[in-house]
Structure formats: structure tokens, C-alpha cells
Amino acid sequence: MRKNEPESEQDIQLYEMMLNRRRWDRLQGYMAGITVPFICTLIDWPLRHVLGPASILMTYLLGVFLVASRYGRGASIIASLLSAPVFAFYFASPIFSFAISDLENIIGLGVMIVVANVTSNFLERVQLQAEISKQRENRANALYRLSQALSDAHNQQSVAGIAVSHIYDDFGALSVLLFPDQEFQLHYPSDIPLEHSLRGVDLQIAQQTYQQHTAKQTSKSTGPIAYYPLERSQTIQGVLAIESPAGADLASPELITFFDTFLNLISQTLERLNLTEKANNANLQAETESLRNALLSAISHDLRTPLTRIIGAGTALVENNADFSAEEKLDFNRVILDEAQRMSELTSKMLDMARLTAGEIILHQEWNALEEIVGSALNRLEKNIGTRPIRTLLPDHLPLLWIDAVLVEQVLTNLIENAIKYTPAGSPIDISAELSASNLTVNVSDYGFGIPQGMEEKVFDKFYRLESESHQGGVGLGLTLCRAIIEAHGGTIQAANQYGKGASFIINLPIHEPPTLNCFEEMAS
């Protein structure tokens, strides 16, 4: 396949130059074929008395051989055919006549012509073979490059981009990949057209190709376009449309095989991507399903427990009010208040979860100070903290962080709340931060019993709860949410046990170049 419609003026010039050069090469060959015998004659003429006719014939043979090796068969035949009469005229007696009296000379000439022919034939075959093996190498390289590039592709668009650019590089043809939508209708890609993308494709023919699984061709005024189904084991992934059909211009079946391999590689990649996507979707669906079920059972359990107590205390107060002393009534009221507060906490947690697990987390990032977020989280938890010592070790002059403060505050609140819940009353909690070149590390550590060995990653799993904490309220989503939030910020969160301490949660957040303050003090006065 060659590039059959040179588009720009530059292309046309290049194309003409190539044609000219090939013509010039051939012309040069013929010229050489004509001149070389005469040059030999010029060299041999002064030496005709020293050299015998056999030696002189050898020089002609050498000349023909050189022409053959440089310009190929055509030129060498001209040279050998011309050498014969020239030799006969100048060197073979009788001199200055084309007649040859000497039998030896006739044989010599015959041998020369045969040798010239055989060598030039031989040389040409060697050259051809070299060319073929070079071409094969190029194709092997091209296939290797393609498969390399395709192995990195992670979606249809990237496959299309890779395929189109490789087809252009290796076949010099514009092409486009068409993929079906949900209703199996082929469409032009909706994104920005690629540099070597083929335009003006007949979607109807492409659709036929897609439905019938057979390659089709058109010959339009704009140039013929071929449509190939991209299929593997009966499942069709799309259609490749390419200008200038393989086959029409292809001389060798080898090129067709090459092109088929190309197509095969592309189809294979598309199939792989398709299967991965299907598997992922199935996994996701199963996960959502089990998530929903687990959430439902956890919620109904966790809401029912406080409700039972509220209803119990409430009915007691309403139905047997007169039987209770003032102190007992206050007790019942306290139960109602405590349980209602637990329910309130639980429902707000569940609201957060619903919001965050419903889809991907939407970040409202702004420049925020860690100090403020820590302060706010601690303020929010004031009641839970009570008199427990909280040590905050934040270095001065921390850079502002490009984060969603509400969500990061939620992470800190969850971590501190956990520390309060699962460590002995009165044991301290440390919140520290450390700055490195590209990261800010925030550490929330407690002095409790730590996390059981080997469970450091497990605690981030959905619905995971340590055995010892099953009596505590909560659904086991807190840390899962923390991780989701931190990862949405491009950071990491890990759990560890610290020697001599309890559990430690380590958050790494990326540092961004903070904006400059282009307003200085003099503005305010």
C-alpha cells in the first residue's frame, strides 16, 4: 500500500522528487552500461600490444561485473551486449571490423556474456533477498512496536489512537476505528479527530461490515476505502476503515499477511479491554449489592437498639408516670436523651457514607491550613474528649494545603473519635505533622492496645470491625471513608502499631505550590 493521494503541496513535491530520482537512477544505469565498454576500450587500446585478447576480455568482464553490481541486470546486459561488438571491432583480429576470425576470441566473448548474465542475475537475487529480509525485519519491528504500544492501552480511545498512528507510520495510510454504541450502531469517535484520522467514511458500509463480519471496499472519487471488521472468535469489537485497500495495491501476499497480523493485534487488544471491563462491572455490581445488604443489616441493628430503649423509657414515663419518683423520671429522660444522641450521630454518619459511597467523591478543594482543621475537629469532639490529654505537635509555618477542608476534617474527626472510643479513658492522643519536600505527613497516635498484628490493612476494609469492638456502635465504614477521602486527594493513609504506643494512623498529603499573596499590609489602613 502506498500513500495514494498526496495531500499537501509539500507531499506532492516529495513524491515527484522520489519518482524523478528513480528515473534518474535507471537512466544513470543505462548510461553506465553504454559508457563502461568504451572506457574499457580506451584503457585497453594503448596496451593492446602488451596484453593478449584473453586479458583484454577480462577487463571487459570486470567492467560488466561492476555495472551489474552497481546498476543491476538491465544495465549489465547493455554493457555486455555492447562490449561484444566493441571488442570484436578494436581488439579481435581482423582489427576495425566486426568479424572475428579467432575461435578463441569467439569463445571468450560467449563466456563473457554468459558470466555477465549469471553474475548480474545472482547479484540481483542477493540484493532482493537482502531487501526482503530488511523488509521483514522492519515489519517484525513494526509489529513489536504496535504490540508494545497496545499493551499500555487502557481504553478504546487509546487503542484507536495507537492503531491509527501506527497504520500511518507503517502503511502510510489514513485510517479510523469505529466503535458501536449501546444499540450496536457505529459512530465516528466523539473526541477531537486524531492527526492521521481518516475522514469521509461511509458509515452505512461500515455498519454492513460490522453486521456481516466481512471486509468491504468502496471506490469513491476521493480514493478507495476498505472496511475491515475487528473481530476475534466471533465477537466483533468494531470496524477499521482505511484508505487505499490492502490487496488492490499490494504486490506480495506477505504484505497482506502483515496487515492481517496488524488487524489481529488491534482486535485482540480491544477484546482484552472489553473482557476486563465486563469483569470489572460484574465485580462492582456484586460489591455494591453486598455493600447494600451489609449496610441495611448494620443500620437496622444499630438503629433498633437505641430505639428500643427510647420507646421503653418513653412508654414507662407516659403510662406509669405516677409510680416513679422524680429521680427515676430523670433517669428515664437521660436514657432517652443519650440514645437519641447516639441515633443522631449514627444517622449523620450514615448520611456522610451515603453521600461518599454513592459515587466518586467530589472535592471542593481550596487553600486550607491544617492547624484550623485540627482545631475544628477537636472543637467538634470537645464533649467526647473531656479531660483526656490531647497533644498537638504541628510545626510553625506549615504551607497551606490544597484540600477539601470539610472532608479532611471528617477524616481527622473519625480518627480521633476512634482513638477515644478504643483506648482507656484518660490515655493521651497525639496529633503531629511533619513536612517533607513533597508531602505533609499527619500522624494520629494513641496509647491504647494497638491494632492486632497483621490487621493493619484489614481495618480499612468495608464493614471490618475488630472483634473487641463489636459492642461499640458503628458500621465499620469510618476508616474506609477516610481512605477514600485521602486517596481522592492523591494522598495515602496507613495504620501501624508504634513501639511503646498504641495504634497510629499516618496520612500523607501532597504539597502543592501555594499561591502568592500579592496583597501586602499597606492595603489595609
Binding site: N368, E371, G375, L378, T392
Partner: protein
């Protein structure tokens, strides 16, 4: 707020149970209460009865809370406390920016409600009395002389820091949104430059707080704004 002139509070809330609870609570505290179950009635009650304070629920059936806030602000300068559900975070901030003075997230305790109402009524008293000195805990701000003291020792603060602090003092005990602060200190063209606020509030905290990561006076309301704690509150 003496017993002779009991403040009149208007509750605009569509849920009857919540209204009942609020009324019982406020009457117990010696406040007079009038009620409206929707925005329209609420607005006409403001015109006819001129209450001292409005408690406004953001999820009204007829007019949305933000529009009610805007119209209330056109009518008068009376303090507005908005009640918001957790799902209305954004509305809450919009209501504050539209002129509401503070907010409470449902569910709230009576303690929180009283603290907010006290702070709001104090704000009114301050504007009337033209306060000269503000004091909370060990922090003293002499508004006339533009001087700040911690435990009697003067703290040197820059003009921008002082402007931030004075706005917070004016709204002591109440939340002031990021937008409000940015607008008042740097001007309307800077209302999105939150980093200015972070930097200067940080400086103020480091000058006024013993532990800036656990501030006693300058509290952060993440996603909303800042609040200067008013000690008389409790």
C-alpha cells in the same frame, strides 16, 4: 435584657412539633414567642409585630430560606438565626452570606440554642451601646484605641490582622463567613482568595492563642467561617 422588656422572638418553621418544642423552651426562658408556619406569614409578622429576633428554618414549603433572609434584610436589621438540616450545608452558607447572623444544625440541644440566641441579642445591645472595649477570657480588645491585650500584656498586631479581629469582635459569639471577612477586609474583588484569610487568621492565632492548633478564642468552622468565642456565652 431585663425581665420587664422580654425579647420577642419569631419562629418561622413548618414542622409543628419543632415549633412547639422551641416555643416551650423559649417561653421557659422568659422570652415571648410568635410563630409562622411558612415564609409568607413570617414576613408579614415581621412587618406587623417587629420582633427582636427571627429563628428561620431553611426548608420552608413556600419560599426558600435564602430568599426569606434577603427579604428580611431589606425590611430590617434584626438578628436572624437559621436552622438547617445536614443535607443543606450549601444553603446554610448562602443564607449566612445573604445576611443571616448564625446557624444551628438540626438536631441541636437547648444549650446550643440558648447560647446562640444570647450571642445574637448581645450583638444588638453592642451596636446600641457602641461598645468601646471587648473582653473574653484573657483577651481584651480596646476598640477606641485599636489595641489588643492578652492577660494585660499588649500584643502587636498588623492593620490587616486588626481589621479581621475587629470584624470578629463586632460579631462576637457568632459565625462570620469567609466571604464576609474577605469582602470587608480586602474588597469584593478578593472574595475568592481564601488563602489570604488562611494566612492572616493563622498569624492572628499564633499571636493570640496559647495553642493555635486548639484555639480558645478564634475558632474555625470548617467550610463556613470563623467564630470569636464570647465567654459570657456560657
Amino acid at each position: 435584657m431585663t425581665d420587664e422588656i422580654k425579647p420577642l422572638i419569631l419562629i418561622i418553621e413548618d414542622d409543628q412539633q419543632t415549633r412547639r418544642l422551641l416555643k416551650t423552651n423559649l417561653c421557659n426562658r422568659g422570652w415571648r414567642v410568635i410563630e409562622a408556619e411558612n415564609g409568607k406569614n413570617g414576613l408579614s409578622l415581621v412587618k406587623s409585630d417587629s420582633p427582636d429576633l427571627v429563628i428561620l428554618d431553611l426548608g420552608l414549603p413556600d419560599i426558600d430560606g435564602i430568599s426569606v433572609t434577603k427579604r428580611l434584610r431589606q425590611l430590617s436589621d434584626l438578628p436572624i438565626l437559621v436552622l438547617s438540616a445536614r443535607s443543606q450545608e450549601q444553603n446554610k452558607i448562602m443564607a449566612l452570606d445573604a445576611g443571616a447572623d448564625d446557624y444551628l444544625t438540626k438536631p441541636f440541644s437547648t444549650g446550643e440554642l440558648h447560647a446562640r440566641l444570647q450571642a445574637l441579642l448581645r450583638r444588638v445591645m453592642r451596636t446600641i451601646n457602641n461598645m468601646e472595649t471587648f473582653q473574653t477570657g484573657e483577651l481584651t480588645v480596646e476598640l477606641a484605641r485599636r489595641k489588643v491585650f492578652i492577660a494585660g500584656n499588649e500584643v502587636h498586631i498588623t492593620p490587616i490582622e486588626y481589621r479581621l479581629l475587629s470584624i470578629l469582635v463586632r460579631h462576637a459569639g457568632l459565625v462570620v463567613t469567609h466571604r464576609q471577612l474577605l469582602k470587608e477586609v480586602w474588597g469584593v474583588e478578593h472574595i475568592h482568595d481564601q488563602h489570604y484569610l488562611r494566612v492572616y487568621m493563622g498569624q492572628l492565632r499564633h499571636k493570640l492563642e496559647i495553642n493555635p492548633a486548639r484555639p480558645r478564642y478564634l475558632q474555625t468552622e470548617v467550610g463556613v467561617g470563623y467564630r470569636l468565642v464570647d465567654d459570657e456565652e456560657c
